[in-house]
């Protein structure tokens, strides 16, 4: 074992570097900051590290690393709070946690779900760190085996998870995924720069829609609106059942599942270019496939929390491999991490190919810090989960405006643009309708997330393969059908077949009654109309930009065929068929308020923002909502508004963001934060 003789001294050097009170103090500081940032949906590693960046210059390298690793490592731990308690994906890494975590919270078992999630996170984080310790010495050649065809196949494998999440009518899931992919193609094509469903007159669309906005819109807004209409607390039970100890027992009973999902997390994390947004879905799919009794998924199966949460912390460990060994960031936060390392000390740590040779002790220090940060973060989270779970007993009409404020802030934090809010509202409306008619929202999101990698890798693989085939047939075949690709194809096919067979028993979003024919039909026709428009739009792309035309045309074509088959089925089948699922029908939900009245509140915020700018609009919105919708006193409403505005300004000040201006700001010069 040659590498042991290299690794062991470096390991002990690393232990010496970090096992000092000051270093551990900075680590805990980073952990606490990471927890504070991660609790808010939509804010994650990028926001947190941006906050730290100004302090990195000239800082002692180990102290700076402790601070940054502490922060990055615990974001996937604390983002579970939002996923479980509010049904809002805390970050792209815990989208799948929502599916079962939130139903558990609704049943009053939030503390149980949280502590099971945290135990899984801890385990995953430790598995990730342990794996890294050994793997990092042999990783380089293995990572280099993942060329474009392999990356494409991993993407396709991720897409195959649509099969298991498609819901009762598989075809609806497939069309939903196709729609998600088409939304993902909006904007300038990567290959030739042709525009798809966008014009230069609307610059916002040219860059495409951001994952934060689509994720929040498709999951968070429908849940908020639904809960708001029912006008009660999130938790149905008055008492919080199942304490944190129950969650730990749940995790222990499923430790092997947790171990498998951790390994999935590390492996997917290691592959550069895919990052974390698929790993939780793959882990969720695996969890469902390996569970005997599938009936509880979607309505509060604790395994559905353990799987994704084990994988998303392990992914951070895996994600460090391409970052440290190749200097290629696996995610946005890793890109900032690389930039920040360059600022540390006198800049003698260079992330990239020379890292292992020159800085093996630092490399291992990073791994150890990662493990320690996970332990510290989990302990803090478990200790606080019982208390924080009580949030679910607060009447939702008090929670909703606050949540909506946070989501809006998260949505425009990258663009600082009113259009971000418009997009959020539009996607939110789509999400509400998909939820109503029982179209799989996870399938839509998977399609959206994987749309860009699927298109890019497919185009690149075709182009490179063509060049290989010119050199010789055998060389081309060797390139496309490498052993890894063949294994991935086999896994994907099995996953699709098994998934589709089982999908009928999994109600990823709970049972839904069937209603009348008319409403589901109109929604299907609207989806079909968009798909046809997108298809025609893509077909108009001229020949020289053909690379940007093929993918949207193909996906839209498949989705259109699927939608047409659905349409025929709808005409033939009786109203009681699952095709016509409609939450507005029957007694699935006891709504106190109408859909459109509730939506009008948020539309009002949007219109006011366009007129007065975000902060003034928010003040009016919060005050009016608490006074009239939640029915509290004038004083209560004023205090709530003041707290909300104060909180928002503090966040913006810390993260150094402006708020979107409105019409008023173009006439009057107002001081920050009103600008």
């Amino acid at each position: 074992m040659e590498f042991l003789s290299v690794a062991l001294p470096a390991l002990s050097d690393a232990a010496g570097l970090i096992l000092q009170p000051l270093v551990l103090g900075y680590l805990v500081l980073g952990v606490v900051m990471g927890l504070a940032i991660g609790v808010f949906p939509g804010l994650g590693g990028i926001a947190g590290l941006s906050l730290l960046l100004p302090f990195m210059f000239g800082m002692d390298p180990v102290l700076g690393l402790a601070l940054m690793i502490g922060m990055v490592a615990v974001v996937p731990t604390s983002d579970t709070f939002a996923s479980v308690l509010m049904g809002i994906p805390g970050s792209s890494a815990s989208q799948a946690t929502v599916l079962d975590g939130f139903p558990l919270a609704k049943k009053g078992e939030a503390a149980r779900a949280l502590s099971a999630a945290f135990a899984s996170s801890l385990f995953g984080g430790l598995v990730g760190a342990a794996f890294l310790t050994l793997f990092i010495l042999v990783a380089r050649p293995i990572v280099l085996e993942f060329r474009t065809p392999e990356l494409l196949m991993i993407t396709v494998f991720g897409l195959s998870m649509v099969g298991i999440l498609a819901g009762r009518v598989a075809l609806k899931g497939i069309v939903a995924a196709g729609l998600g992919m088409m939304v993902g193609t909006i904007g300038e094509g990567d290959s030739a720069g042709a525009l798809r469903m966008a014009t230069y007159d609307m610059p916002y669309l040219v860059d495409g829609l951001k994952l934060v906005i689509v994720g929040l819109g498709i999951f968070a807004i429908p849940e908020i609106v639904a809960l708001l209409r029912q006008d009660r607390a999130i938790s149905e039970g008055a008492v919080l059942g199942g304490g944190w100890a129950a969650g730990l027992r749940d995790w222990f009973a499923n430790k092997w599942l947790s171990a498998r999902c951790s390994i999935i997390g590390v492996v997917v994390g290691v592959i550069p270019g895919l990052g974390g947004s698929v790993v939780d879905w793959i882990a969720y799919g695996h969890t469902v496939q390996t569970t005997k009794d599938k009936s509880k998924f979607g309505s509060g199966e604790v395994r559905g929390v353990i799987g994704p949460e084990s994988s998303n912390n392990a992914k951070e460990g895996g994600g460090l491999v391409p970052t440290l060994l190749f200097g290629i960031p696996g995610s946005g936060s890793m890109a900032i991490f690389i930039g920040a390392i360059a600022l540390l000390g006198s800049g003698n740590i260079e992330v990239g190919p020379s890292m292992l040779k020159n800085n093996l002790d630092i490399t291992y220090a990073i791994v150890w810090l990662l493990a320690l940060a996970n332990v510290a973060g989990t302990l803090i989270c478990i200790a606080s989960s019982g208390g924080i779970a009580r949030l679910t007993t607060i009447p939702f009409s008090l929670l909703a405006p606050f949540l909506f404020m946070i989501i809006a802030f998260a949505a425009f934090q990258s663009g600082q643009n009113l259009m971000d809010l418009v997009a959020l509202f539009a996607i939110g409306l789509l999400g509400i309708l998909m939820r109503r008619f029982d179209w799989s929202r996870p399938a839509f999101l998977i399609g959206f997330v994987l749309s860009n990698p699927a298109e890019t890798y497919a185009n690149q693989a075709v182009q490179i393969a063509r060049s290989r085939f010119r050199k010789g047939f055998e060389e081309g075949i060797d390139y496309i059908f490498s052993p890894i690709v063949i294994v991935l194809i086999v896994i994907t096919v099995i996953s699709v077949v098994v998934g589709l067979r089982q999908a009928k028993t999994i109600m990823a979003e709970g049972a839904v009654d069937s209603g009348r024919k008319r409403a589901p039909m109109i929604f299907l026709l609207a989806v079909l109309a968009y798909l046809v428009t997108a298809f025609v739009n893509a077909s108009l792309i001229p020949d020289f930009a053909a690379a940007d035309r093929v993918f949207p045309r193909f996906v839209a074509g498949v989705a259109i065929v699927g939608a047409l088959v659905l349409l025929v089925q709808m005409m033939l089948r009786p109203e009681t068929h699952a095709l016509f699922a409609d939450r507005e029908h029957g007694t699935a939900e006891t709504n106190q308020h109408g859909l459109w009245a509730t939506l009008a509140w948020f539309a009002g915020l949007l219109v006011l923002t366009a007129l007065l700018g975000f902060i003034l609009a928010l003040a009016i919105f919060l005050f009016a909502f608490i006074r009239f919708r939640a029915g509290r006193s004038w004083g209560y409403a004023a205090a709530y508004t003041a707290a909300g505005i104060g909180f928002m300004c503090a966040m913006a000040w810390l993260l150094n963001r402006d708020f979107p201006p409105g019409l008023l700001q173009s006439y009057a010069d107002l001081p920050w934060p009103l600008t």
């Binding site: 000239g58 900032i336 930039g339 490179i464 060049s467 150094n656």
Partner: protein, 368 residues
């Protein structure tokens, strides 16, 4: 609310710690504007993850120390439409009190030069206070590099080259045109997200030609060269005071593209093709990243910022801390910066027309 107070306290504590660790203090003297108690916003029209972010994050803390009154300097990211969104926004800003600066890059310059329809900004309206140069190096796998006959690249003309590219209208225009002039059959594979991905593609053996800017080359490719898996082919060179292309001071042992071109039959270092290449090289590399004050900036403000950047350059440790981050390239202020801006943004019409036509013929890119 407790969460926020904790974070704030943490931030302030860190600020104190960071301030204490700064060794040197440099002040800009003389008349000028005082920025005490103010916050300077440095707008970067890219995301937090790119090269411009690294460059701005390198300078921001130094600038904060060097400006009179030691204002807080914050880097603000405004990504979109390949930096034209941020640049269009900056065009609409007017000078107020010297607390707004803008950082452009080669990716902002090229659409401007090529007449991209999205460009609504005008470099001549802005006031340059710093211009940072860089260079670039093209490299090959060892077997292909071995086919070169000294500097003569004609033996490579029969090879199918694959290159991971970010887009033909970006900085990649310079290497693509250079390789074409040498007669190489280079097929760009578009859709990569950064030059780091291009290098990874090269390391995986999928691409067999690549280029990196100087600092990325030093960090990412030098270890490959040492390991024997990559061989430098040529640098783009650097400009001397008279505007001639000479060897890059960061890579004095490496031939420039000009030398390789001269040694390769069929490649000419004169004529419209060469002029176009040189014009776009000058626009993209020797003055790649610039700092601007908005239109209407007062002379006092200009003087203040020039003095601040001069003070940064005069730091004892500047050479040491900048070498790894920026490479050994001129960091120009004052008249030098103005000259660099002029050569970077004033490309002869003939060169522009040639490149526009070449992009159309070769890649089908229409810029209208």
């Amino acid at each position: 609310m407790t969460i926020i107070t904790t974070t704030r306290r943490v931030a302030l504590g860190l600020a104190a710690a960071a301030a204490a660790s700064f060794a040197t203090q440099a002040h800009a003297g003389g008349h000028g504007i005082d920025l005490a108690g103010k916050t300077v916003e440095w707008v970067i029209p890219f995301s937090e993850t790119g090269g411009s972010a690294k460059w701005a994050n390198f300078y921001a803390p130094l600038l904060s120390e060097a400006l009179p009154g030691e204002p807080t300097v914050v880097v603000k990211f405004m990504p979109g439409a390949g930096s034209t969104k941020g640049a269009n926004w900056f065009q609409e800003q007017s000078y107020d009190d010297g607390t707004l600066i803008f950082g452009s890059s080669g990716s902002t310059q090229f659409p401007y030069l090529l007449g991209d329809p999205r460009v609504r900004y005008e470099y001549n309206d802005w006031n340059v206070v710093l211009a940072s140069g860089t260079g670039g190096v093209a490299y090959l796998p060892p077997d292909l590099a071995g086919m070169m006959n000294g500097l003569d690249a004609s033996a490579l003309q029969g090879t199918d080259f694959i290159y991971g590219s970010q887009g033909a209208t970006r900085l990649d225009l310079v290497p693509l045109l250079a390789w074409e002039m040498l007669g190489l059959q280079v097929e760009p594979v578009f859709g990569i997200k950064g030059r780091g991905d291009g290098r990874l593609m090269f390391e995986r053996g999928e691409a067999n030609i690549d280029y990196q800017t100087s600092s990325s080359y030093l960090k990412g490719v030098t270890p490959l060269v040492e390991a024997g898996t990559a061989v430098p082919m040529m640098s783009w060179g650097a400009l001397d005071a008279d505007g001639n292309i000479v060897r890059d001071p960061t890579f004095p042992d490496m031939p420039t593209f000009k030398e390789v071109c001269e040694a390769t039959p069929g490649c000419e270092t004169s004529g419209e093709k060469w002029d176009a290449w040189k014009a776009f090289f000058v626009a993209g590399f020797p003055a790649q990243k610039m700092v601007f004050l908005p239109a209407g900036a007062s002379n006092d403000a200009m003087v203040t910022y020039k003095a601040a950047f001069d003070a940064i350059k005069a730091r004892d440790d500047f050479a040491e801390i900048s070498a790894g981050r920026l490479g050994v390239y001129p960091q120009m202020t004052g008249d030098e910066a103005t000259g660099a801006l002029a050569s970077a943004t004033q490309v002869p019409d003939s060169a522009k027309a040639f490149v526009v036509g070449w992009l159309q013929d070769r890649y089908g890119v229409s810029l209208n």
